[in-house]
């Protein structure tokens, strides 16, 4: 597992920003809101079971993902082939995958739709309600 600089940044930011999301309600509810807001089901299916929508890439099932919490934060934040980068300022303001800041790679679509607290809430939601343990 690649060690993530982003993970460190995330931890530092969580106390400032991330928990603010969860203060509104319980963490799972906050994460569920992010799930709907970001439209994760477009590619991963309504229940995270893997996507089949014709207008979207067939995202993998999240029920069977082998990513751990930290790796999932990084993939959601910085994207990878077929998966957008969701974190505001990914690559350009915040480093991704252990690199220094760079232009967004050409094969990545960067939505910049989520802040670190929302990403954290989303991962908590996915880990507690979707991933089959």
């Amino acid at each position: 597992m690649r060690v993530s600089l982003l993970g460190s940044v995330m931890l530092a930011l969580l106390s400032l920003h991330g928990l603010a999301v969860a203060q509104d309600s319980d963490p799972v509810t906050a994460g569920r809101k992010v799930w709907i807001f970001a439209g994760c089901s477009n590619c991963h299916g309504e229940k995270g079971q893997g996507g089949t929508q014709v207008d979207f890439p067939a995202g993998p099932s999240l029920r069977t993902t082998t990513l751990d919490h930290e790796a999932m934060v990084e993939v959601i934040s910085c994207g990878r082939s077929g998966m957008p980068a969701w974190l505001k300022g990914a690559y350009t303001v915040r480093p991704c995958y252990g690199t220094v800041t760079t232009p967004v790679p050409s094969q990545i679509i960067s939505t910049g739709a989520l802040d670190t607290g929302q990403v954290e809430a989303l991962v908590n939601y996915i880990m507690t309600t979707i991933v089959a343990r």
Binding site: G39, G45, G50, Q53, P57, S61, W86, I109, T111, G112
Partner: protein
């Protein structure tokens, strides 16, 4: 409001006196051997008692029809739109709303400059500026680039008719403006929709902003009208299939929702405001021409086709009524003074027609989307009616190569409406009855798929491994992953195609004849997913209303024993026999699962099916689109068998052929071109 223009009762003669075969739809006439060489549409058109007339009569209120209606009205025509369904929007209304145009259109330019010129509150563009630099010449070259090969081994763009796509590329900029002028807002460009060309990003999503009230002019929609998949509710306003109220945050538009309904409702609103008139619940049955195969097209004959709420028996009504003509006579004639535009959609709803080029489509249980648009949707009626007055066809082979038009097994189980299901709240739910249980790509390890006699036919885990059905933008994300170079064969290597070519094999196996295939047509019958309670728990599937029907609708069954389940499935309208080998099949499969090896189909991961209750859910065999249709030219004029335009007759969208392009961009431009030329040609004439 503009005064109603279509006038009633131009002639006093009783419509029933007209000597034309009455009461038959185009589809039913062609489907009967004896009717195939039916009488000429009218031996004496001068005897016809026209009930209505308008400058331009438009057939179908989908993407082609709505665009053509507004365009013709803007150019001064009186316009009457005939729609066989109870509401406006056709397939456009339940699509995703991803609108691929380009050629340097206003949205590409907005994003290229990084502005938010209409103050929509968009985030930064998603695509780099250099990927948005576009012009009509580049778009046209893209649309005919033979070197773009998708993962199925198909090079779709080489199949596009060059004359048609030159005209298409020359009108995309105007159509983007046209849509925006008629209240449609767009998100950031997020890529390119299937068939929209590969070298540039061209497709934003049609969006409305969530607000307290729905206001088309302001571009806002209430949560009630948007619907919500998360809350399992649709609305009469939004029939978006499998997901109303979807957030557009991922497309740079936080606080907005996306969908084809945005375009459909915005155009419908604008059309009604401008004085376009609509006659819903009416199906065009025949076109009337001056002579059977010569002269101008004069009008249509249309039959009354209401749909009723199955519970209350009340007639279903359109969401908006303004400008509707409530005409309930069984058959009427409508005269078109200047032109008729055919926007009646495709042919997947007509078994006879769809098998003319592809015998795989003979399976009667094939799903094509009739719950939302009705049993007469996609019935090829526009094509058949035009053929009867001399029209030719084009591009009919193109369905065969496109996954959207090929019969494909779907992972949304237990529904009769896998591509047009809505949630409760929209009237179409009365017909679809179930949203379906989505098991995704990984769900297949938990079920077996059996045919109509209860035998397996394929490695279930490979059912969902169909390769990508279109070349994927951004270029480089599929294929060789090298930088994309237009017109360069190295964009996709032979090795890559060999490694990914799996298209349709599971569907082909499902459509093979089996022991239950009977004369005269030897149908394969429906396909069932069989699973047990343990699979439900492993998969986290919610087997409840509205994902399955309550009361049951014959597409999902539950039983305490396999023997009972095997008998129950005959409650499905397409299942003519019990699953007589089911117990034997499951016993054999369970033995494979126990020892971890599938001798029959090499399924890699298996789980025994032994924990009651047991379930049988339909695995939909479905198509999404149809390709091929009426031959048109660059003006969208329908071309006859001799290569000449049929005066006054235009067509577009899925009713027309000549390209392997799919979607809103194609249909909207066709409608725009058709209406523009219809008015211009009429002026010249």
């Amino acid at each position: 409001m503009t005064k109603a223009r279509a006038r009633k009762a131009l002639a006093r003669r009783d419509v029933l006196k007209v000597s034309i075969a009455a009461g038959l739809t185009g589809a039913s006439m062609l489907s009967s051997q004896g009717e195939a060489d039916a009488r000429p549409t009218s031996s004496c058109p001068q005897d016809i008692a026209w009930s209505y007339e308008a400058d331009v009569v438009i057939l179908g209120a989908g993407c082609v029809g709505l665009t053509a209606a507004i365009r013709a009205r803007d150019l001064g025509a009186t316009v009457l739109v005939i729609e066989q369904n109870f509401d406006i929007g056709g397939k456009l209304a339940h699509s995703g709303g991803w609108t691929s145009l380009g050629g340097g259109d206003a949205i590409q330019e907005r994003d290229r400059r990084g502005t938010d010129s209409d103050g929509l509150g968009l985030t930064a563009p998603l695509v780099a500026p250099e990927n948005l630099e576009d012009d009509p010449d580049r778009l046209f070259r893209d649309m005919t680039d033979w070197s773009v090969v998708d993962d199925s081994g198909v090079a779709p763009y080489r199949l596009n008719d060059r004359e048609l796509h030159r005209a298409w590329a020359d009108n995309t900029v105007a159509v983007r403006h046209f849509l925006m002028d008629n209240h449609v807002r767009f998100s950031r460009v997020s890529g390119t929709h299937d068939g929209g060309g590969m070298s540039r990003a061209r497709a934003p999503w049609a969006i409305m902003k969530l607000a307290e009230v729905t206001d088309i002019r302001a571009g806002t929609v209430s949560s009630e009208d948007a619907g919500s998949a998360a809350e399992e509710r649709s609305s009469p306003f939004n029939p978006q299939a499998l997901g109303p109220g979807r957030s557009a945050a991922g497309f740079g538009a936080p606080g907005w929702v996306y969908g084809g309904f945005v375009i459909a409702r915005s155009l419908e609103f604008s059309a009604r405001e401008k004085g376009v008139e609509f006659m819903v619940n009416r199906h065009m049955d025949e076109l009337v021409r001056e002579q059977p195969f010569a002269g101008r097209v004069l009008g249509i004959k249309a039959g009354y086709t209401p749909r009723f709420n199955p519970q209350t028996r009340e007639r279903l009504e359109s969401y908006w009524q303004k400008g509707n003509i409530d005409e309930r006579r069984e058959h009427i004639y409508v005269r078109a003074r200047k032109a008729i535009v055919i926007g009646t959609g495709g042919h997947m709803g007509n078994r006879h027609f769809r098998t003319m080029m592809d015998p795989r489509l003979s399976e009667p249980s094939l799903q094509f989307g009739d719950s939302l648009m009705g049993p007469l949707s996609q019935d090829a009626s526009g094509m058949i009616a035009a053929m009867k007055i001399g029209a030719g066809l084009a591009g009919m082979m193109q369905s065969y190569q496109q996954r959207f038009a090929s019969p494909t097994l779907n992972s949304t189980l237990g529904t009769r409406a896998c591509h047009d299901a809505v949630f409760p709240g929209h009237p179409a739910f009365h017909f679809g009855r179930a949203v379906g249980v989505e098991i995704g790509g990984t769900g297949w390890e938990h079920v077996i798929a059996v045919n109509q006699v209860g035998r397996r036919f394929y490695n279930e885990s490979a059912i969902a491994t169909n390769a990508a059905h279109a070349a994927i933008y951004p270029p480089g994300s599929a294929g060789t992953k090298v930088p994309f170079v237009p017109l360069d064969w190295r964009n996709c290597s032979v090795e890559h195609i060999k490694a990914t070519y799996k298209r349709g094999a599971a569907s082909d196996a499902a459509l093979a004849m089996n022991e239950g295939s009977m004369p005269p047509d030897y149908s394969s019958g429906p396909i069932w997913a069989i699973f047990d309670e343990a699979a439900v728990k492993r998969g986290g599937w919610e087997l409840r209303y509205p994902y399955i029907a309550d009361p049951p609708d014959g597409f999902f069954f539950k039983a305490e024993t396999l023997a009972e389940l095997a008998q129950k499935v005959v409650g499905n309208p397409y299942q003519k026999m019990s699953l007589r080998y089911l117990e034997e099949t499951v016993a054999r499969y369970n033995a494979f699962a126990a020892r971890g090896r599938d001798d029959d189909f090499e399924k890699p991961v298996m789980h025994g099916i032994d924990t009651p209750p047991f379930y049988a859910a339909i695995i939909p065999m479905a198509t999404i689109d149809s390709y091929g249709g009426l031959r048109i030219n660059a003006k969208a004029q329908v071309i006859d068998l001799g290569g000449q335009p049929i005066p006054g007759l235009y067509a577009g969208g899925e009713a027309s052929g000549g390209g392997l392009q799919h979607g809103i961009g194609r249909a909207a431009v066709h409608g725009f071109i058709a209406a523009s030329h219809a008015m211009n040609d009429a002026k010249v004439a």
